[in-house]
């Protein structure tokens, strides 16, 4: 059995004239937690529905376990889904909802009882077997939906924004539980969300999608620290993006000054985009800073203050700091070479990876 469980080969999905998924290629490995991340309408749910078999690709092939499943209907695929609205059957109680898949497979009654009880135990609902769905809260329904998916022992569980209907506190709690559940079960989870924090916290691998194309894939730290383009940098966390150009390897120029950095493989004087994360900027006095800015507004965010500042070239700089400064005061910003990340304009993911490999050796 190979380690790859899902493979997409040049998959395109179009409705009439609108292309929702444009020539997508990727692989998903066994036992990991994957997240498809992107704004609404980016095609992430389409990928999920293609894997589940609710829709068929317009062109290209979907493989499960190295077998092309284009012609295999949803009810014969070894995949189970947790839906955004949970899709629990209102005419069945908790036990029967979870047992639905097992009953279809004609599993023996004693085994059904045992497996349903186990699945409910996994999601901490063992006391609720005889409850009606209408008597359960949102968080509890969520757990029933998860139990209903895992009771069939699928190789892959698909989760379609399952936490979006919960309040913030419950959502954070469920994030921990989902992650732990995936690790205990050791099966592959593919999770769809538009919430970047959720994606960073949960995933082994993230696919960032926009306009039907996978923009970048990688571990949360890779994607956060080395975004491939403006969209990814903007979508994952807050970032300061300014135009600049590369003077030579390890030396970049922006805001009318040159700075040391750790990026290589560019042409001389190539125009680039420079990213510095707000939390990597350190506040000092105007004289000591590498850049001098004027504070325009300040917001208290709880853990830190968020300051919006402008330098003399009208570039906006977002700064996160626990230090409070006065509005309209002039401050200096300090940062190390590691804090600077350079993006080549219009670079594809393959080119990006190649360039990274070239100078990391």
């Amino acid at each position: 059995m190979s380690n790859t469980i899902i493979r997409f080969e040049n998959v395109t999905k179009a409705y009439d004239d609108t292309v929702v998924l444009n020539n997508v290629n990727f692989e998903i490995e066994r036992g990991k937690f994957y997240t498809l991340l992107g704004p609404s309408g980016c095609g992430k749910t389409t990928i999920l529905r293609l894997i589940a078999g609710f829709i068929q690709p317009t062109s290209g092939k979907v493989f499960i376990d190295d077998k092309c499943v284009n012609t295999i209907p949803a009810h014969l695929r070894p995949v189970n889904t947790v839906f955004q609205d949970y899709a629990l059957f209102p005419h069945l109680n908790v036990f029967e909802n979870v047992a639905f898949g097992l009953r279809i497979q004609k599993v023996k009654e004693a085994e059904v009882k045992e497996r349903v009880a186990n699945a409910l135990k996994f999601v901490n609902l063992e006391e609720y077997q005889t409850r009606e769905i209408s008597e359960m809260s949102g968080g509890q329904r969520q757990r029933v939906a998860i139990a209903r998916a895992i009771v069939n022992r699928p190789q892959l569980v698909l989760l379609d924004e399952p936490l979006s209907a919960l309040d913030l506190k419950l959502r954070t709690e469920m994030q921990y539980e989902l992650r732990e559940l995936q690790q205990r079960l050791g099966i592959t989870f593919v999770f769809v969300t538009h919430d970047q924090e959720e994606a960073l916290a949960l995933s082994d691998e993230i696919f960032v999608l926009n306009k039907g194309i996978i923009q970048q894939s990688g571990t949360p730290t890779d994607i956060y620290d080395e975004p491939i383009n403006r969209f990814v940098a903007d979508f994952i966390g807050e970032s300061n993006i300014v135009d600049g150009f590369m003077l030579e390897d390890n030396l970049v120029s922006f805001a009318n000054r040159s700075f040391e950095c750790v990026d290589q493989g560019f042409n001389q004087n190539e125009p680039v985009e420079v990213i510095i994360r707000p939390e990597d900027l350190e506040i000092t006095t105007a004289e000591l800073g590498k850049i001098t800015v004027q504070v325009d507004s300040i917001l208290f965010r709880g853990v830190h203050y968020e300051m919006s500042c402008y330098d003399e070239f009208k570039n906006e700089w977002l700064v996160h700091s626990t230090k409070k400064v006065d509005v309209n005061s002039k401050i200096g910003l300090n940062f190390g070479p590691e804090a600077i990340h350079i993006m080549r304009l219009g670079e594809t993911e393959a080119e990006f990876d190649k360039r990274l490999e070239a100078y990391e050796e």
């Binding site: 009810h75 014969l76 889904t81 839906f83 005419h91 639905f100 898949g101 069939n152």
Partner: protein, 267 residues
């Protein structure tokens, strides 16, 4: 001010119901009249009821009516469920609304026209008029009603329920029998009972397509009434009214008792 308004509202409501039920009550009262006509109440008697139960011909007609109603409502419900699901599943809105309109036209078109067109159809096809022709036409005019009663339930159902059932391994038939059917069951029952009542009290269509000595109650009562009124009809009407009332009350108590508990619902 508020008080008088309430009195007026209640009084009005009572008046409306009295006017609506007065003819039935009038008819019921005279079914116990020993006078033999509907002019002046002479004394209490159960004579008309006795006469009714000894009239086998009339009882057979009652039985015919019930048999036609039950069979036609059952078949119409089965066909109607299939039709509603099919209409619901049509993806192109244009075709779906077209079919729905065709369905609705059948519901609103006058019985006389439906009856006449069935008569023409049956004569053309050479189907002899009698039990079978009445049954066929009752099935036909009941189907659109059943479809209309079931469609809202289907519309209300979240499409992810079907996805979820498929996802859990249910074949198309299992999706229907284990998820869709239980969900729309209230609509199916409502459709069945509506079809039943439509069939029971249909006069116009049956009047056209019956023949060969086969009669249903509505047509029979009509022809009896033309010959001169016997209080036997009053007795029969009273019994039917009592049974209907009992059924409605029974349905009411069953449906209020089975309502799901709403306390402690969400969160």
């Amino acid at each position: 001010m508020e008080q008088t308004k309430k009195w007026f509202a209640n009084g009005y409501l009572i008046l409306v119901f009295v006017i609506l039920y007065a003819p039935i009550l009038f008819l019921t009262a005279y079914s116990f009249n020993s006078g033999g006509s509907m002019v002046g109440f002479d004394g209490f008697t159960l004579e008309w009821y006795q006469e009714l139960f000894s009239d086998t011909r009339l009882l057979i007609i009652v039985l015919n009516t019930l048999v036609i109603a039950l069979i036609s409502a059952t078949i119409a419900t089965i066909v109607g469920v299939a039709g509603a699901v099919a209409i619901h599943n049509i993806e192109k809105t244009k075709y779906r609304s077209m079919l729905l309109t065709l369905n609705n036209i059948l519901v609103v078109s006058p019985d006389v026209i439906i009856g006449a067109s069935f008569l023409i159809l049956f004569t053309m096809l050479g189907i002899s008029l009698g039990f079978f022709s009445v049954l066929l036409s009752h099935i036909a005019f009941s189907i659109p009603i059943v479809v209309i009663m079931i469609l809202p339930k289907l519309k209300e159902m979240s499409p992810t329920l079907v996805d979820a059932a498929q996802d859990l391994g249910a074949s198309q038939w299992q999706v229907f029998s284990k998820v869709i059917l239980p969900y729309i069951l209230p609509g199916v029952f409502a459709g069945f009972f509506t079809a039943l009542t439509f069939s029971l009290d249909d006069f116009a269509v049956t009047f056209f397509v019956t023949g060969n000595g086969f009669n249903t109650l509505a047509v029979e009562v009509y022809s009896l009434a033309r010959q001169g009124i016997s209080l036997k009809i009053n007795a029969l009407s009273t019994i039917i009214f009592a049974i209907t009332l009992a059924l409605v009350l029974g349905y009411y108590f069953l449906s209020t008792r089975k309502k799901p508990k709403t306390l402690g619902g969400t969160d």
